[in-house]
């Protein structure tokens, strides 16, 4: 290829989001990110509880509880939350992650106080009855059927790899939950879970979009100021030693028409050692982002050992919303009759080559340019910006890190990426293989 086609990007752009943070008297942490010209506002409330905090015998409970938070609260009947948000022209959702649970709304800017009211009301007192509990257990079972049990590659690899890589219940168990555990859950479990984990000292509220700081602060204080103060619970103990020998698990997926394989390696602590962690985030992109990446090039385009490859840090695909222990994951879909072992072998060869030579300067800078663009694109959506800021506040007490991330990612060197690649050794690897169960 003629070199004249190569682009030498200028310094990647940075964001300068305005970020205000304060804490209410009751311990609720608040982050405001005003964009006064924006016609919409995103409101995110995140609680510092997720799948890894679930008690034994109650797998899936954090997610079930997230559903229950939409079933009415002190001043709101069942159905009211949805109707008030959508009836204001907005959208809402909730999602349960390994280390936090989030509740999000995007509304036209004129509905800000209404959404704050809705969130504050359920932060004070969700309305949980035996009827709503049974109803949502049924809904969650349908969700599990449609997303996991009744589809090819259900739960692959995010539910399939943790039990191979980890030994302790918090890290290893199925976060969607067993039907037995879901059926066993009672209202008293929900009340205890709420009391313990849904304390306002364990929550962060973030608002991003069309408002002024003065106005939003006043509304936040009015709606959340009298939420009873409760401190955050102690953090669950998650630490586990790294693997000392490879672990591999293979299972038949009755619905899958083709095989697949995924592998994971532990990475440095994302919070305590951000500098050590970021090279792995860049590495996952060097290995798998697009046709110009190392693994797509070799596995898909050259040797045709795989039909698709992806890679990321964090079991749910987001490197900046997880706590230690976490992992870098690589996954590949294989053609019929493809060999998982051969794919793992090539991954080993390519990471060794990267460890020895590092990425080229040009390769590294284009990967960094793409990562920057994706961060900017995410930040252009108010609710994504709000969620990101809320989680950074919750896990690091440092929402302004969002403005630093492009520069931090751009400062990762070829040597650091090479050194990260050098740790992806077979003896530290957990892998899981899907055997195709459905004949073509």
């Amino acid at each position: 290829m003629p070199t004249s086609h190569l682009t030498h990007p200028t310094q990647p752009p940075r964001t300068g989001y305005r970020i205000e943070r304060f804490t209410l008297d009751n311990g609720l942490r608040v982050v405001l990110a005003p964009e006064p010209d924006c016609p919409v506002t995103g409101v995110a409330v995140v609680y510092g509880v997720g799948i890894r905090a679930e008690p034994q015998g109650r797998t899936g409970f954090a997610h079930l509880f997230e559903h229950l938070m939409f079933q009415g609260s002190a001043n709101l009947e069942k159905f009211a939350h949805f109707r008030h948000v959508q009836g204001a022209g907005g959208t809402f959702n909730g999602s349960t992650h390994l280390d936090y649970t989030r509740y999000i709304q995007t509304v036209p800017a004129n509905a800000l106080e209404r959404v704050l009211f809705l969130e504050a009301d359920r932060m004070r007192a969700p309305r949980i009855t035996p009827e709503t509990l049974r109803n949502q257990v049924d809904v969650v079972k349908e969700e599990i059927r449609v997303n996991v049990l009744n589809r090819p590659f259900g739960g692959f690899p995010w539910l399939r790899l943790p039990p191979v890589m980890f030994d302790t219940f918090p890290n290893a168990h199925d976060g969607y939950g067993s039907f037995t555990d879901l059926d066993a859950a009672g209202v008293e479990d929900a009340e205890e879970f709420f009391d313990r984990y849904y304390a306002c000292g364990n929550a962060v509220l973030c608002v991003a979009g069309g408002f002024s700081v003065e106005q939003a602060r006043k509304l936040v204080e009015r709606q959340f100021g009298d939420v009873p103060a409760r401190p955050a619970p102690s953090a669950p103990v998650l630490a586990e030693p790294d693997l000392v020998e490879a672990r591999h698990h293979s299972y038949v997926d009755a619905a899958a028409p083709t095989p697949a394989v995924a592998a994971a390696w532990r990475v440095p602590d994302p919070v305590a050692d951000l500098t050590g962690y970021l090279p792995y985030v860049v590495l996952s992109e060097v290995l798998t982002d697009g046709a110009s990446s190392r693994l797509v090039s070799r596995l898909v385009l050259e040797e045709r050992l795989a039909t698709g490859v992806s890679g990321y840090v964090g079991f749910m695909g987001d490197p900046f919303d997880v706590l230690d222990p976490t992992a870098l994951l690589l996954q590949a879909n294989l053609p019929a009759g493809g060999s998982a072992e051969r794919v793992l072998g090539v991954i080993g060869e390519e990471t060794e080559r990267l460890a020895a030579e590092g990425p080229s300067a040009e390769e590294l800078s284009r990967v960094q340019a793409r990562m920057t663009a994706l961060l900017l694109r995410e930040g252009d959506t108010m609710i994504d910006r709000a969620t990101r800021l809320a989680v950074l506040e919750l896990q690091r007490g440092e929402p302004a890190l969002l403005n630093e991330l492009p520069a931090l990612l751009a400062s990762v060197t070829a040597e650091q990426v090479g050194a990260a690649a050098a740790t992806l050794r077979p003896h530290r690897r957990a892998s899981v293989e899907v055997v195709a169960g459905r004949d073509r």
């Binding site: 990647p12 001043n75 009836g87 800017a109 106080e113 449609v146």
Partner: protein, 440 residues
């Protein structure tokens, strides 16, 4: 439960009007329409290129999309990926019976380069044999996985039943047919049909509209040549008949799919139709979702959309339900369709849907990517962003009587083409007691 006094729901502030962004438009000598829209919220640009695809075999059309960026006279597939990534960008192409849609995005500073690479592919894509065969196998495997999923299979059966011999009958081509297409066929297809005449390019983001038009003219001016003018023939409207039961032994859920007639995107009744659909099942706060999910717990996510294509419009409704509640879920579905078709909706239901529909336009166009998605689709229909303003007007003007009239015209269960994919041995008896069944 809180013992405190009832708190009032805050009112909405006055709603802001929809403000359309500054834009410019030109038709190049080649016949390509270029629309540039300024949305300078973050230093990125989004690109959407709509190229009409009527009367193209869907297997060949999908393959062209998959391989368009596989190499040109001067660039390899890897080279294209590297250059795009270097400006923080990506380029991909998708195909549906109406059109090819090329999606691109990049750092604003890289727009020139992105358009240069795009122009090279449009003018000089070579579909090299080796790259073509790699991508062909990948695509066939992707369709294989897709066609192993009950939701896709149910939709496939529905489309075939509604559309018969019309191109809309097949959305996911047969993987075996895809695997048999030769590169020469796609080269020939590109020559005949990947043409600027009748195509529309939309650029949205951190740009000056006039400068962006000028740049697009410079880069894409060499993309010339007229294809044969082909328009999509009118599609048949859904017609009633017995429920088609597609047997899927062992499946854990039944996939219920109905198609109903609908007025076209630009029809004066389209706004009232949108509201009727919302009240019935088109958003979370709809009757069907509240009934099927929040009351009965039969389904995780029932949904109903008004689907607009160039050849016609239809309402598509979909719910996946546990096998054991298949017949009762069918009963509730028929009941809700019957209710919306025969009784006027409550004024508050219409107001809530109206605010959601209008607010939805504000929310969806608040980001560069959302605005590009809207503008790109509208351009494909020969419409511009000002259609959104007209839409808001029509939504604001629609009365309860309009919604009732439109619902009775289009949404009655007696007008539905109905398909159910499920374990026939377990569900046939139940559903046959509800409505006539034909085994497919």
């Amino acid at each position: 439960m809180s013992a405190s006094a009832v708190r009032p729901l805050p009112d909405l502030e006055p709603a802001a009007p929809l403000v359309l962004p500054r834009q410019a438009e030109a038709v190049l000598p080649s016949g390509l329409t270029v629309i540039a829209i300024a949305r300078r919220t973050t230093p990125l640009v989004e690109a959407r290129l709509w190229v009409p695809m009527a009367e193209v075999d869907i297997a060949e059309g999908a393959l062209l999309a998959q391989t368009l960026f596989s190499g040109t006279g001067t660039r390899s597939a890897t080279g294209i990926a590297e250059e795009t990534q270097a400006v923080g960008g990506s380029l991909n192409c998708g195909a549906s019976p109406d059109r090819w849609l090329i999606n691109g995005d990049c750092l604003a500073s890289g727009l020139d380069r992105l358009l240069e690479v795009l122009a090279d592919a449009l003018c000089d894509a070579r579909y090299p044999d080796r790259e073509f065969s790699v991508e062909r196998d990948r695509l066939a495997d992707r369709f294989r996985v897709s066609l192993s999923q009950p939701p896709t299979l149910a939709r496939t059966a529905l489309l075939r039943r509604v559309y018969g011999d019309h191109p809309y009958a097949v959305e996911t081509p047969d993987p075996e047919r895809v695997g048999a297409v030769e590169a020469e066929r796609v080269r020939d297809l590109h020559e005949r049909r990947m043409r600027p005449d009748g195509a529309a390019l939309v650029l949205v983001g951190d740009l000056d509209p006039e400068e962006a038009i000028e740049l697009a003219g410079r880069r894409l001016g060499r993309w010339t040549g007229s294809g044969r003018k082909v328009t999509m023939p009118p599609a048949p409207s859904p017609t009633p008949g017995p429920l088609l039961l597609v047997d899927r032994p062992g499946t854990l859920q039944s996939s219920l799919r109905f198609a109903l007639p609908a007025p076209g995107r630009d029809h004066p009744d389209s706004a009232a139709m949108q509201l009727a659909n919302l009240v019935f099942g088109g958003y979370f706060s709809s009757r069907w979702t509240e009934n099927l999910r929040e009351d009965k717990g039969y389904s995780y996510g029932p949904g109903s959309v008004v689907d607009h294509s160039l050849g016609g419009s239809a309402v598509m409704i979909a719910a996946d339900v546990a096998t054991e509640v298949t017949a009762p879920a069918l009963v509730e579905t028929l009941y809700e369709l019957g209710r919306i078709a025969t009784l006027p909706p409550e004024p508050e239901e219409v107001e809530q849907a109206r605010r959601y529909a209008i607010g939805g336009i504000m929310v969806a166009t608040a980001t560069q990517a959302g605005l590009a998605r809207f503008a790109g689709t509208l351009a494909g229909f020969g419409l511009r962003l000002d259609h959104l303003a007209l839409r808001v007007e029509r939504l604001a003007a629609a009365t309860v009587e309009d919604v009732h009239r439109v619902a009775s015209t289009y949404l009655g269960p007696g007008r539905a083409t109905a398909v159910l994919l499920g374990d026939a041995e377990r569900v046939e008896r139940g559903v046959a007691s509800v409505m006539p069944v034909e085994i497919g």
